[in-house]
Amino acid sequence: MCRECGCSVNHQHEHKHEDTKTLEVFTKILEANDRQAQENREHFEEHGVYCINLMSSPGAGKTSLLEKTIELVGRELRIGVIEGDLETNRDAERIKSKGAPAYQITTGSACHLDASMVHKGIHHLPLEELDIVFVENVGNLVCPASYDVGAHLNVVLLSVTEGDDKPEKYPVMFRSADLMLITKTDLLPYVDFSVDRAVSSAKKIKPNMDFMMLSTKTGEGLEDWIDYLKFKVKFYRKAFK
């Protein structure tokens, strides 16, 4: 029986018969993004630049942390920033006013940065003059977790005002993180946030995750954070020499 017209196979009028075939492909859906991310990583490596992807919900303190970090490292580590936001250049302006090069990507309605957006950003930064490039992702605990942007380290910020249950609620994000920074610790006396609970639930989804606590307001923990960055950059350089 002919499926197109419903007539018997020996029909008189002309049209071609179709045949279906099944094609097994087993391809990652985000294969193209993964490929671009790998190219970004190699590009950073050619310049000896260490790339860190900062992720968190909106308002956890990513930009404030970067401002403080740039102030504190001085000339020891030269930092550049790729900023991702739905709208405005405000964050890039904040970084530039601290004396570091920054490039703003406005995603319009996209809820995450992907590898090709970061690739565009790379070409607006003077890589040969930098030690670390921070990618400040769009504030969102869901979508950025699925997109490799080509960083060497994924960092997730969790501010104490958000609640200690976030690692359990957003497992994909916390699984993707190498380091969890618990921020705004100066507010701990005023909120019901159990550091133990946040850390133990994060470790259940990512057992080898590092964690640190800090407050950009009081400066608590910032010294450890800077030491951590220096340590990471030092061993990264060794691996690529």
Binding site: D19, F26, T27, L30, A32, H112, V142, S146, K204, I205
Partner: protein
């Protein structure tokens, strides 16, 4: 919601394979979505049905296979599926495990309608 971006990538793959195989139509698309891939199947289906219009996959049926989280324990050596979204070994409770399934987002197979010369 990043399911629209994921579907855009999926459509590009489908169009590539359809063209390589000189397909006239795509009849069925089977994908495998891990429970820890960050994808919500319902939203993915919604996005697919929006994007497929006017493409070679316009009449295609999307089949989403869910893949559970599966870990292999480095302490006791056991492999097991997880009901909860954590990586503790389901047998000995160790944290020293590797995820062996449940994180991927794969295009598994395509059913294509190709021209037949008869």
């Amino acid at each position: 919601m990043h399911e629209f971006s994921v579907v855009q990538s999926l459509m590009e793959l489908i169009e590539k394979y359809a063209e390589e195989n000189k397909a006239k139509r795509v009849v069925k698309v089977i994908i495998r979505v891990g429970i820890l891939s960050g994808i919500e199947p319902h939203l993915l289906e919604l996005a697919f049905n929006t994007f497929k219009e006017g493409t070679i996959a316009e009449g295609a049926l999307l089949v989403i296979e869910r893949e559970n989280l599966k870990v292999k324990c480095q302490e006791c050596g056991a492999e097991g599926e997880k009901d909860e979204l954590n990586t503790l070994c389901p047998f000995c409770g160790s944290l020293n495990t590797n995820i062996i399934a449940g994180q991927e987002m794969l295009l598994k197979s395509l059913e294509l309608e190709c021209e037949d010369e008869t």
